[in-house]
Symmetry: C2
Subunit: 910 residues, 2 copies
């Protein structure tokens, strides 16, 4: 009910606002002569560009004067059936007067004409909208005036030509090529290549042809009245707000459509007015390395367009220092001022017209992760910003770039397919199509990339030796993706363009046929599959990065643990700052070569006795695994989950067996072997399930086969006790998976506690330990108060929880989830970032209910979401104690946890 | 927090209570001489039996006098380390005095001894507890007294013998066989067969051997002091309260263990005191048919034991009317009185000792469903009870017996296996192992029973022609179970004892080998598989049943609809009282022979155009299906669900294709065919999913392939419009399945509404229709407020909801759910009855949130739970508008819905 009320209130306010605009508010904000009516704070009204121009003007930066028509006018324009408000013309005229006074020229004057640029500018930078019209105000007569004023007829005609071309295209909607064809024809006539070689006469001819083209295409003459030109340009800007491309972009980025765009009208300055003119762009620091040194390039006697066209090679800004020391010093002074003012690296445009420097734009500079960290740390040291501000500024997911090798951004690569970027980093190597081949080829010291339709636990051995993994199917939390992230191996999944034939050892894509041992590269950060070996960069962790991460630790409240199954991963996790293991998947230890046969023995056992015999053989392996983990973790808590996956994952595939048997039978050979395979098949069939994700797994195994839990508890506590005897600190936390009812948990806890007490008695040592549960079944969250009466900690398994709350199998949903996101049905992949509305709601409910029974209940999460910044912040907000994630995402989680405290900044990345 | 408080209060009260008992409350309640200290209202204290004896005494029924030791004493006994309270002996003595006075005999007297029976009696009848000791008070001396009193030494010694035997067994814990062996030996000596042939001398010898046995087994002499006998017997009753069997029973039936048992001590009366004595049992009405006529049997000159032993054939009670009219009249008078008093059929025991009639017990009589309905209706007509009371009394699930043929209870059958009773009713026929064989054999007019490992949608055609279905796997909501219930076909699932080999067309169980065309019978009401053809009874729906069901309709608030896919089922549903269709599964129409090829064409289509062409071919089929349904439902609403199952269900199985291809290849033949199969396999593989239940199904299909939803909407509204043109009332409700987000629903609703409006425009007719959604994904319930902003009705799909809230696949979970229930981890199968704590919580949340947005939101459920009485009551409580269930469960739902209003009675069934 309160929600409904709120909506009403909001509606009322809106109506009121509209009234205010049309009746009282000013439509236009002037800037120029060292003073502006707006500033950075009026971004909503002036858009980003307009606010920036106003702000620069106010702080004394030389900006060509002009004015900004506010975003409210855009909304009025749409309200009034696409017509500009009546009062507007009057306001435009008033503001033009002010500009004319400042620059001593007159709009439409035939002797000393004022020329302006017209640019759109919304609150958020938005591709798809109209960009720029330059030289507005030129017509037959004012062009003559410009010639008189500049004594440069070529410049004047060229300016006029450019204006007609831009106006025809962006205001009148005539295809660019129509104009280009005319120019091309003229150049062919003269057999010249460069526009610059066109003579005044040529330009004149082109201008008249342009005009005829406009008449023929639009049915009307090119407007000669500068005021008409201006009005049409303003309307064109407003119309471009509702371009299909702009609408699509807003939808994609969840930008409200009622923000509107502003229009900036500004005096033209020319960097192409002769030898004493130039134009350039730059950054206040190096956006790639972060080095504190002006960075940029410029072109003498040129317009901005020319820099983009790439016809002449621009000069490095260092050259300016040598050639035009005075200008360079001025620029340095101004840009330093801008940086001090905005307290961040600036990306600026400047123009020198006949020796006078003007700043045309400044905005926050995009930068690499490397630079972002260095700049943030430097600025703290320069006392420009606080540590908190530094933390707010770094986009956590950007840190990924610092933790993995990347494809050299300057390398020329051929991208042949695009999949989901499942595990970051770049890798190159030879293709293999099976785990066995991967192991074989890797043994001969080759880098291998494992390519499969999808992976399953059978492939672990091959995945472990691969430098990269590529699968045709699966989503962001498919088996391949989860395992690869855990191992820190670059991985692309769900690359549905590729057709993999594992049997024939070949995959095809877009006409390419790639066979075993062919070279490819994968970019797990972007999802791109690249032909051949691409050169990579091994980024170094700079000192600033370490320093920065320490600051995050000082600030965050949320603990960060690692999901790690083996000592090697745990070591990596410790290096990245983990404060414990939040999830050790014991079953990952079961797939090792020396263990799998014993595991199968256990599964195929026909009696409890046989099963126990096999379990006894597994015990020493598990025990030594746990000992290794405890030792690496040096007193940090280690959360060990009891066996989770369905047993058939450890057996050969049903289909493979079926085919083998059919083949043997068809050949009418080896009856013995057929029998053996058939009996194995019988057990596989017995264990096979329609929906294994919802089948006999998790604690359901340990309940039906209590001897399994018993063995695992024994391995954990014998390992712990042996180390405790050596005076080492061990903190085991035993976690029961897939609990849905209190009774299930009690059943398993009883076994664990009994074994723990027996073992400690036997070793004559006492260890502090906890027995808790994963909350991953919706019912567990719904009845968390009951479960907390017995469970000593909770760890939310958000992967399974998401699967069940949405009813999406993470192994299958890749296809339609992608469709959903592309078509706006899902705003994002809920397996990547916690769906706060649904999954988050049930998690928050679980936290509240759990703590209502046990106020000091320790609660964490150990799903893949533990390494997603948005999700980490959510975990902080609902009061969790820690998140646990793959080792390679720990720095990201640490930063996100700190941002949960100090806030984060919407931030533009490279 | 309030919960915790409550618990504390309860604890306090309990302590207080215990104090009260030990200090103030009386321990013993007397009954006799036409007056009793207790009555039916003190059932908590006196137990069921004690309360009944007191009540009978109070209303003037002749009952042998005695007294009841209260259940509180039992609790004190356990509190005091298994010893009786000190005051008790005094109270016993006082009460014995009263009895002695009434019957003019004295406990322990050597001339005129009072003999008593000692019986346990808890609030709820409980097997596993001590039952009865008769003739207590006899010893060497009192036996002599009894001889003097009765002049019947054989009677006296036989009574003594029986007493020692019972005492030795139930009080001293000596195995029954020890005593039986002694008697057998004696009979062998004399080469006699009947106990009755033993002479006085034999009995004396047996008595002394019994005593020696007792000494040797228990180490102590058989107690001669009647007071010691009594104390030991009382203690034995109390101890039996905590028998393992009793504890297990309480746990199973959720009976609190602190209730305790009472002990009834009552004057012995003897039906074996000569020709003028007899004993019998009876019912006030016929418990099988409900006929209003005394029903029962008796034995002259016998004790209760003898009736049970079955050595002599008892006489029908009609005989008593002829032979002993006076006694019969008295009995009739008394039992009528009892029935009028208790207002229900009574199950009574009586004894005539030397011409005097005593009632020994009365209790509510168990009865068949048939009798239950007739008795309830009759009693309303007799003004004995109200209609409400009649409704309260019938156990809804019992009605099942009235709706299906049953196995003749008198028939001798050989049960060879036990499975889950998935769909009620009995069926006999010839075994087949595939759908094709079922169709073939059924075509030659045979009754067929389809036996499979499990069924899937491919089997529908075979299931439809079978008279019964038996599967080795699956749970109560597996495919076979759901479809069979929907079709009203008897079905047993999860019969794991049987080993089915579909290929070889044979199944084995317990040494039996059953082949195709062998006869079996199945009892879908009990889950029993029977060898050969068992004779069945076709129960008629009597007039009383119809009348009774009308009463339920007058009272209930909840609507009852049917899950029905085809006109035949809808007709059945209407007959059973359905008020609409709550779920029409359109995909069931897709499996028909003439449609499946078109469906496959649609699925295999490579372009949208091809797909649309196939859909256009399906359109007329669907349209005529819907027309049929609308016509049958005559203006009742028809809820049609758009396509729900994953597409691969309509294609051949991957495994089958794999095997076929492997075989073809091994033979090195027919390369064309291999190619064709391989291309089919490729599509099957593309569509195959690891967890289809969580895969690409439900609205996810209609979103990715909007043309499917479009075709279905077209079929629905063209059918509706054509009928509307003929002035027929049609109320289509289009239901979108598996919605998890508002956007999904909006996407599909948009299509349906657009097609509906277009079609109505085309036909120039207006129809009222609704577009709503199934709430079966947890997220939909969690965000029901959002979804209700667009959805015009909700229907909870509790099958899927239960699957996802528990994380149980209903196709796979059968195995461990059974284990869970057997081991007390689950109290019941959540697929059978709604788990109110978890699933119910999220449903209630959905109702609340949905109505918060749309107060008049129509809400129903259409899962299998719609036919489960407990769940129906829950649906009423949370304010649903209707439940929808299989046609054959509609009467059950109607009754349960009425009980939701008037309450229900814990009721004992046959």
């Amino acid at each position: 009910m309160p929600k409904v009320k709120k909506a009403k209130v909001r509606k009322k306010r809106k109506t009121k606002k509209v009234k205010t605009i049309s009746e009282k508010r000013k439509h236009i904000y002037f800037f120029g002569g060292g003073k502006a009516q707006g500033g950075e704070k009026l971004k909503d009204l002036l858009g980003g560009k307009g606010a920036g121009l106003a702000e620069m003007t106010n702080i004394g930066v030389p900006v060509p004067p002009g004015f900004t028509i506010s975003t409210e006018v855009c909304n009025l324009f749409y309200k009034n059936d696409m017509s500009l408000p009546q009062k507007l013309n009057k306001e435009i005229a008033e503001n033009l007067k002010k500009v004319e006074k400042l620059v001593r020229a007159k709009f439409g004057d035939t002797k000393n004409p004022l020329l302006v640029s017209v640019r759109s500018g919304a609150k958020f930078s938005m591709p798809g909208m109209m960009d720029t019209i330059l030289n507005l105000g030129l017509n037959e007569k004012t062009t003559e005036g410009l010639i008189q004023k500049t004594k440069n007829d070529r410049f004047a005609y060229d300016s006029y030509r450019r204006f007609i071309q831009m106006f025809g295209n962006v205001v009148l909607g005539i295809d660019k090529s129509e104009f280009e064809k005319i120019i091309e024809k003229k150049k062919e006539e003269h057999r010249i290549k460069m526009d610059a070689s066109l003579l005044v006469e040529d330009l004149k001819d082109i201008i008249s042809k342009f005009k005829r083209k406009i008449k023929s295409k639009s049915g009307e003459d090119f407007p000669q009245d500068p005021f008409v030109q201006l009005e049409m340009a303003i309307e064109a800007v407003f119309k471009s707000w509702n371009n299909p491309r702009a609408i699509h972009y807003r939808k994609l980025n969840q930008i409200p459509s009622n923000l509107g765009t502003a229009v900036n009208i500004q005096t033209m300055v020319f960097g192409n007015m002769g030898e004493n003119s130039l134009t350039g762009v730059g950054f206040t620091r190096n956006p790639s390395t972060g080095e504190k040194k002006l960075f940029g390039e410029y072109l003498d006697n040129a317009q901005g367009e020319d820099v983009v066209a790439g016809i002449r090679t621009p000069k490095q800004i260092e050259k300016l220092e040598k050639e035009r020391t005075d200008l360079f010093k001025k620029l340095l002074f101004i840009t330093k001022k801008l940086e001090r003012h905005y307290k961040d690296i600036q990306d600026f445009e400047f123009t020198v017209q006949e020796g006078k420097l003007y700043m045309l734009q400044t905005r926050t500079g995009k930068r690499t992760a490397h630079a972002a960290v260095k700049i943030a740390v430097d600025m703290v040291k320069e006392k420009l910003i606080s540590k908190q501000e530094a933390i707010r500024r770094i986009e956590p997911s950007q840190l990924d770039q610092l933790l993995h090798p990347i494809i050299d951004p300057d390398a020329k690569v051929e991208i042949i397919a695009q999949g989901l970027a499942a595990s970051p980093g770049a890798a190159s190597g030879k293709i293999v199509f099976s785990a066995e081949d991967a192991v074989k080829l890797a043994n001969s010291e080759e880098n291998v990339i494992l390519v499969r339709k999808e992976t399953n636990p059978d492939d672990i051995s091959g995945m472990a030796v691969a430098v990269g993994i590529l699968t045709a199917r699966g989503g962001m939390t498919s088996h391949a993706a989860v395992v690869a992230r855990g191992m820190g191996i670059p991985c692309i999944v769900g690359c549905e363009e590729i057709r993999v034939n594992e049997e024939r050892k070949v995959f095809t894509v877009k006409g390419y046929i790639l066979r075993e041992k062919d070279n490819i590269s994968i970019n797990g950060t972007t999802g791109e599959v690249i032909l051949g070996i691409a050169s990579t960069i091994q980024p170094a962790l700079t000192g600033e990065f370490g320093e920065f991460m320490e600051w995050t630790d000082q600030i965050r409240k949320l603990g960060v643990r690692a999901n790690a199954d083996i000592p090697k991963d745990a070591e990596q996790a410790i290096k990245f700052g983990a404060e414990g293991i939040g999830l050790c998947r014991t079953e990952h230890m079961f797939f090792a070569k020396d263990r799998l046969p014993i595991v199968r023995e256990m599964i195929l056992a026909k009696t409890k006795e046989e099963r126990e015999a096999a379990l006894n053989k597994l015990l020493p392996f598990q025990k030594s695994d746990f000992k290794g983990l405890f030792e690496v973790m040096k007193g940090f808590p280690v959360t060990i989950r009891t066996l989770d996956p369905p047993l058939h994952e450890f057996l050969p595939k049903k289909e493979d067996l079926l085919v083998e048997i059919a083949e043997l039978k068809a050949k009418n050979e080896e009856p013995e072997k057929i029998k053996e395979k058939e009996s194995l098949l019988a057990r596989v069939e017995e264990l096979s399930e329609f929906n294994p994700m919802l089948g006999h797994r998790g604690c359901r195994l340990g309940i039906v086969y209590p001897e399994m839990t018993e063995m695992q508890a024994k391995a954990i506590f014998e390992a712990a006790c042996e180390l405790a005897k050596q005076k080492k600190v061990v903190v085991p936390e035993v976690m029961i998976p897939l609990v849905g009812t209190l009774e299930e948990f009690k059943n398993q806890k009883e076994i664990v506690v009994r074994v723990a007490e027996e073992t400690m008695k036997k070793y004559k040592v006492r260890i502090k330990y906890l027995v808790g549960t994963m909350i991953e079944i919706p019912r567990a969250s719904l009845t968390a108060d009951e479960i907390a009466s017995e469970a000593e900690f909770f760890s939310f398994g958000t992967n399974d929880m998401t699967q069940m709350v949405y009813g999406y199998s993470r192994d299958d949903a890749g296809k339609f989830i992608r469709y959903y996101i592309e078509h706006g049905i899902l705003p994002f992949d809920p397996f990547v970032s916690i769906d706060q509305k649904g999954v988050g709601q049930i998690i928050a409910m679980g936290v509240k209910k759990g703590r209502s029974k046990r106020p000091d209940l320790k609660i964490g999460i150990c799903g893949e979401h533990g390494g997603d910044p948005e999700s980490v912040i959510f975990c902080h907000e609902i009061g969790l104690d820690y998140v646990s994630c793959s080792p390679y995402r720990i720095p990201i989680a640490r930063l996100a946890a700190a941002q949960a405290v100090v806030g984060r900044q919407a931030y533009t990345t490279v």
